[in-house]
Structures are given as structure tokens and as C-alpha cells.
Amino acid sequence: MLITIAQLEVGEKGIICDIALDNIPLKLLEMGCLPGKEVELLQKAPLQDPLYIRVNGSHLAIREETASQIAISKI
């Protein structure tokens, strides 16, 4: 099932899809947020934004607007 990181529930995981490539900002790619990698949504900030994710060994916080650009397939 194709969704975006923003649609994950806390604790759920997904795999970043290849088609997401064009929408992922370069800096996130450089930080290890690559197609084929697993993302886990660790936590949402109290107002549902930003999102605290773990991807490729990094713990990052990104805003929802960015997360909703990144397509994943849920596992």
C-alpha cells in the first residue's frame, strides 16, 4: 500500500519508494533518507507536527509538509 510518511501512525514502519526520489529534498537524501530504506515514525510532536523519525540509523525531526512528500510502502 502506497502512502506517505505523514500518514504513518506512531510506531509504524515503511520503506521509502523509488518514485519518491524526485520529491525528497537533497539534504534529506544526504542525511541518509534514501529509497529502499526503512523509516519508522517514532513520535509526533504534541501538535501533530513535526514528526520524529528514524531512518538509516539517523534520528531526525522533519515537518509534516516535508514528510507528506515522501512516498513509502507500509510494512
Partner: protein
């Protein structure tokens, strides 16, 4: 050493990997470190003697994830490494990586290696390896990365000498690329680049093409060619993405052979702490509680040493008066220099406590959680979660706070942050607040713990914060700048703060404050003293004039002397100056003496108390040297006959200092950071105007 050689070594790496700690170990210098990405936002230099013949200039750079800059601090790294005419262009680069995030650290490493600069890899925090179950096969890694790799621990001082040894032999380092992107992405395209710009390494040309900003060291002829390639923007974007993926592929292959980790022991604690510290409710409660503890301690703990410093300086003045021969020079020391210095030393306890708390919050890794918690809220006001750090450290001093805004990616959010930070209650306001609060607010306790004076101070902090937030909101509504970048922050592991790091930070920052502000205060108090001790004809003939105007005959000698001194002050140069602005400030409840203090504190707020001290001690001919507070308490308003510093005028002054932009250092730094006079001027006029209005309203209502 006459024939000693000198090389430049740059420390580069991801944020928070311990570059500054390593820099301090190598150079013996004391730079601030902290467990928050973005502590170093500027270049720092130090010297390290590698051998009797070889001296190295070390450059500590801000942390970056990639050589492609997305914020101002990262741009410093890019410019240092791409421009070989830059004075800091390194002979060797030490990429400082960290054992846990080696993969991501290597990304930057492969980029730098492609530039053809001799590069070594220092893997820091080796002391954590055992606990985290990490194993690294160094010899295999060295072969794969085509350079020297060394495990170090800046905290436990492991591997420092071995690193020096490698740097000493930097000429033998291999400069081949590890992940040559040109072939893998688009051979044809990169070949054309190579042919067009034969003097640059291909990767350097590629970087120049991918950056939006032009570099000033490029010749126009070369720039034209670069611009030609830039025009193929969509292709470039694709290639950049491909590059990132390719690099990670190479790195993954290398690490599979060399790196193993026995998963997830430490992460348990991290998850638990995160659940509490970023909790919907508890997260904010804890943050608020921490802030309250900080402010309460600034007032409660600091008051004891402050009292002591205050009386010590009064005693010192008495002592000097007794010991030194009478004369103009002694007067300068007792009335100008000693109160001036006393006026600044007295804040050392409060400032040190504040710096200590900020350092602890940064060292533990808590600050990044605050960013996470606050981002959404701050965005409503046109700022970023990362603006919280400038706003909190602004309570120590606006200057480093404004610089720490450099890691905010979006120019709009950064600009708003810079513009509103000076509203936060910096430590230079504490002396003014402290003395005024002590004069006008009773020293009462509620429920045994809350002190009315402390609560007033807290209210002033909130006021500063509210002013910052509301002006940010206003700017958010009116500024027409588009947001182009996006937000990302790494949440580091929690760490037990190192007492050594914290004490270094506290000592260094306090020292910088005392000497920085001390110089200004000393200079101003000397100038003030001169202006207060000399004047025109009326000043010189004060004695006769007072005698001739004498109203009653039975004045004692001392009273007469006092009257003469007061008359002299009024007709001194400073008196004339103060009187000329009195009409403008009388509606706020101030007299010309306070006016002088306002004028002089345009250089820096903390000068206020020192100025009043100087002025009152010039006017005071009594035998004993009273403390500043006593002198202020004894000032009377000749019109009403009541106290000069009563509730109305005191509140008006408090509000004036809460809002007014009175710090030349801040204005200078805003000019530098925004690269224009427009923004600092806006701050100066806007903030001071606001201060005037609030002070006016307060005084007119309360009097």
C-alpha cells in the same frame, strides 16, 4: 623557530561529532562544546605544534552533513574547501566522524576526498564503542577509503598523539577519490565539464555548478562556463540525487565488510526519555519547570555573592580613599573606576548561573527535544523550532544568540528570529532590573518559597519574551519574503554532561562578558567622570554662587559642601547635557541624572548602574562611601519631595529597559549577520520607540 614550516589543517564533520572537543585537545584552547547540532557557527583557529619543525594552524569549522550548503554555517565549510585562494584553505582535512553514525559521516568524507585534498578520517567517541557493541576493522577500512583512519576519543584523550603523527606525515596521504561520481552519474556530461574547466578538479567544478550563489574568486570567463552548465537545472537536480544514492551505495559496501554493531542497548533509555520529555503535556510542563528553576536560581542563589561583591567594592573605595593622597587622580579612581568596575563584577554570579544552565541543557541533548516540541508553535510566529535556542540563550547575551540563529535554514525564519532576539532579557539587563526591583518591590515571601522580588523578575522575563513573540507575529504578517528551505534537525543521543565542558563554557563566556563589557564600562565611566568633574563658568564659581544664594544661616559645613557639590554637578558638562534632554524624558518620570545614564547606556545597558554610581558619588561629599543601592534609595525628587526612585518612576524605567534597543554590540552583529543596515536601524527605532511609549504610559498611570 626560524625555519619552522606552517601548514593549515581543517576539522570538518557532521554536527555534534566532537570537532570542537578534538580541536580543544589538539590546541589546548577552550572553545565551547555542546551536545546540540550547531554549537559552532563560525570558524575558530588555534595552533598545534606537531613537531619541532612543523607548526599547524587548526581551523574548527561548523558541522555539516554535506558539502552542499543549505544554511549559513554550512556555507562557511563550502567556501573554505572550494576556494583554494582562501587563507584557511587546508593542506590536510581531518574528517571527524563518530562511531555510531559512521555511515552518514562517511558521506561527507567521500565528498571531500573527491576534491583531491589530503584527507584523514578520525572516528571520535571511541570510548563508546564497547558499551554500544560496535566493532570496526580499521585496516580494511583504510584500504577501502584510501587514506589513514584512526580511532580517537576527545573526551578520554585517546588517539590524539597518533593523530598528530599522521598529520605530521600528511604528504604521504593518498588523494584518490573513493566514490568517483563522474563516471557513474553521466560520463558524457562530466567530461564536458572537465573540458570546459580544465584548471579545476571535476568535482570542484560540479560543486560550483550546483550552488546557487556565485563565488567571488571565480574569473568571469570561468563563471560564464559555469553559468552555461547551470542553465541545465533539471538535469543537475537529477544528477545530485543520483550522486547521493551512489555515494551511499559505495559506503554501504565498505561498511558491510568493516563495521558491525550489536544492536540496541542504549536506545532503550533514549526511547523512554524521549517519551517523557517530548510528551504532549509533560514535555511542556518539564520545559516550563526548567525555565522557572533557572530564573528562580538567578535571583535566589545569586543574591548572596552579589550582596557581598557590592559591599566589598564600597569598602575598597573607602580603603583607597584613606590610603591614596588626595587629588584629581584619586578622585578618578574612587569615583570613576571603582564604581564602574563594581557595577559589572556584581553580575558575574547571575551570568555564570545562566550560562551554566544553558550549557547543561545543550550538553545533555535536551535542547534538540525542545526544538522538536516548539517547532509548530514557533511557526505560527514566523519562526522555527530552532529559534528557541537563540531566544533562550538570548537571556544570557543577544550577541552569541543572534549568531546561533545561523543554523536556521530558512532566511525568513532566521531574519525574524534575529530581529526579535534582543527583546529577550539578556544578562546586561539584570543589573538594571535587580537594583530597581530591590528599590521599589518589597522583599516579601509567599508560601515560603516564592519571593515577590523574584516573581517580579520572572514577570519581566515573560514580558521580554512576550515582546519578542508579538513582534515576531507582526513581522510574520508584514514581511514579504518567501520561505524556500525546509526544516530538519537531528535528535542526538542523551549524554551525561561533562563537568569539565560545562565549566569551560561557563568560565570562558563569563570572562568574555566581563572583559568585553568591562572595557566599555571602564571607558565610559572615565569619560563620564571627566564630564562630571569639569564645566563652564558656573561650575568654577560654584562655591561663591551657593554662598550668595544661601537661604538659611545655620547650615553646617557638611551641608554646605553637599550643596556646592550638587550645584557643581548640575553645571558640569554632563549636567548641561543631561538638562538638555530632560524635557523629553520628564514625562517618563526621569530627571537629568537618569537621562545621563540613559544616554550612556546606549552603548550597553549595564552601564546604567555604573553611570548612576559615578554621578551620585561625584555629587556625594559625605565621609562614607555608600553602596550604589543606598545612594539611589536616598535620592529625592526635589519637586515632590518624595523618593526619586518610587514605584511609578521605577516601573517606567523597568519598562524602558525591557524594550529599548540599547546595545551597540548587538546592532553591529545584526548588521554583520543580515548584511545590511536596514535591519539594525529598524530594531533601533522600533524598539526604542516602543520603550518610550510603554514607559510613558506606565508613569502617567502610576504617578
Amino acid at each position: 623557530m626560524a625555519n619552522s614550516k606552517n601548514i593549515t589543517i581543517a576539522l570538518v564533520g557532521n554536527p555534534n561529532t566532537g570537532k570542537t572537543s578534538l580541536f580543544n585537545q589538539l590546541t589546548g584552547l577552550k572553545q565551547k562544546v555542546g551536545n546540540y547540532p550547531g554549537i559552532t557557527v563560525d570558524k575558530k583557529q588555534g595552533v598545534c605544534q606537531l613537531s619541532p619543525e612543523l607548526k599547524a594552524t587548526l581551523v574548527d569549522l561548523p558541522g555539516t552533513y554535506s558539502i552542499n550548503p543549505t544554511s549559513l554555517d554550512e556555507n562557511i565549510v563550502y567556501e573554505t574547501l572550494v576556494n583554494d585562494k582562501n587563507p584557511d584553505y587546508p593542506d590536510v582535512v581531518v574528517v571527524v566522524a563518530e562511531v555510531e553514525n559512521l555511515k552518514r559521516n562517511l558521506f561527507l568524507f567521500t565528498q571531500i576526498k573527491d576534491l583531491g585534498i589530503p584527507t584523514v578520517l578520525a572516528i571520535n567517541m571511541a570510548d563508546q564503542m564497547q558499551r554500544k557493541g560496535i566493532k570496526i576493522d580499521i585496516p580494511v577500512l583504510e584500504t577501502a577509503l584510501k587514506t589513514k583512519v584512526i580511532l580517537v576519543s576527545a573526551r578520554k584523550k585517546i588517539g590524539i598523539d597518533a593523530l598528530k603523527e599522521i598529520l605530521l606525515n600528511h604528504q604521504t596521504l593518498n588523494t584518490e577519490s573513493v566514490a568517483d561520481v563522474s563516471e557513474r552519474i553521466h560520463g558524457q556530461f562530466f567530461k564536458r565539464i572537465q573540458e570546459a574547466l580544465p584548471h579545476f578538479s571535476t568535482y570542484k567544478s560540479w560543486l560550483l555548478i550546483t550552488q546557487q550563489k556565485a563565488c567571488d574568486f571565480i574569473l568571469p570567463k570561468e563563471q560564464k562556463k559555469i553559468d552555461f552548465f547551470k542553465s541545465k537545472a533539471t538535469k543537475i537536480n537529477k544528477f545530485q540525487h543520483k550522486e547521493a544514492i551512489y555515494r551511499y551505495q559505495v559506503i554501504n559496501e565498505i561498511l558491510e565488510k568493516t563495521y558491525s554493531v550489536n544492536r540496541e542497548e542504549g536506545t532503550d533509555l533514549r526511547a523512554k526519555l524521549d517519551r517523557i520529555l517530548t510528551h504532549k503535556i509533560f514535555g511542556y510542563v518539564i520545559f516550563a519547570f526548567i525555565l522557572i528553576v533557572i530564573f528562580q536560581s538567578i535571583f535566589a542563589w545569586a543574591s548572596i555573592p552579589m550582596e557581598w561583591i557590592d559591599t566589598s567594592f564600597a569598602r575598597l573605595a573607602d580603603f583607597s580613599k584613606a590610603q591614596l593622597p588626595t587629588g584629581k587622580f584619586t578622585d578618578l579612581i574612587i569615583e570613576g573606576v571603582i564604581p564602574g568596575i563594581g557595577g559589572i563584577v556584581i553580575f558575574v554570579p547571575q551570568i555564570a548561573i545562566l550560562f551554566m544552565f544553558v550549557a547543561i541543557l545543550e550538553e545533555t541533548g535536551y535542547m534538540s527535544r525542545v526544538v522538536f516540541l516548539m517547532d509548530k508553535i514557533m511557526r505560527r510566529y514566523g519562526m522555527s523550532g530552532k529559534s528557541v535556542i537563540p531566544l533562550v540563550s538570548g537571556t544570557a547575551c543577544a550577541i552569541p544568540a543572534i549568531m546561533s540563529a545561523r543554523n536556521i535554514e530558512s532566511w525568513r525564519e532566521r531574519l525574524i528570529t534575529i530581529l526579535v532576539v534582543p527583546f529577550t532579557t539578556c544578562s546586561a539587563r539584570i543589573p538594571v532590573y535587580a537594583i530597581l526591583i530591590a528599590l521599589i518591590i518589597p522583599d516579601k515571601h509567599y508560601f515560603g518559597i516564592f519571593n515577590l522580588q523574584g516573581l517580579t523578575l520572572l514577570a519581566l522575563y515573560f514580558l521580554g519574551f512576550a515582546a519578542a513573540i508579538s513582534s515576531a507575529f507582526l513581522l510574520h504578517k508584514i514581511l514579504k519574503i518567501k520561505n524556500t528551505s525546509f526544516f530538519v534537525i537531528e535528535l542526538p543521543n542523551y549524554k551525561i554532561p561533562s563537568i569539565k565542558n560545562i565549566s569551560i563554557t561557563v568560565v570562558e563566556k563569563t570572562k568574555a562578558f566581563v572583559f568585553g563589557a568591562g572595557k566599555i564600562i571602564l571607558a565610559i565611566s572615565i569619560v563620564l567622570w571627566f564630564l562630571a568633574s569639569y564645566g563652564g563658568k558656573d561650575f568654577k564659581n560654584a562655591a561663591e554662587i551657593v554662598h550668595s544664594q544661601k537661604t538659611s544661616v545655620d547650615l553646617t559645613d557638611a551641608e554646605l559642601k553637599q550643596q556646592i557639590a550638587t550645584y557643581q554637578l548640575e553645571h558640569s558638562y554632563i549636567g548641561i547635557l543631561g538638562k538638555s534632554i530632560e524635557p523629553a524624558i520628564r514625562p517618563l518620570g526621569y530627571d537629568w541624572k537618569i537621562g545621563i545614564a540613559l544616554l550612556s547606556s546606549f552603548a550597553a545597558r549595564e552601564v546604567f548602574v555604573g553611570t548612576l554610581a559615578t554621578i551620585y558619588s561625584v555629587a556625594d561629599e559625605g565621609e562614607n562611601t555608600a553602596t550604589i543601592k543606598e545612594r539611589m534609595r536616598n535620592e529625592v525628587n526635589p519637586i515632590t519631595g518624595g523618593k526619586r526612585f518610587n514605584f511609578a518612576s521605577g516601573m517606567s524605567l523597568l519598562l524602558f529597559y525591557a524594550f529599548a534597543m540599547q546595545c551597540m554590540g548587538t546592532l553591529a552583529i545584526v548588521k554583520r549577520e543580515t548584511n545590511s543596515w536596514k535591519w539594525p536601524l529598524l530594531q533601533l527605532i522600533g524598539m526604542t520607540g516602543l520603550a518610550y511609549i510603554f514607559a510613558l504610559i506606565a508613569f502617567q498611570f502610576l504617578k
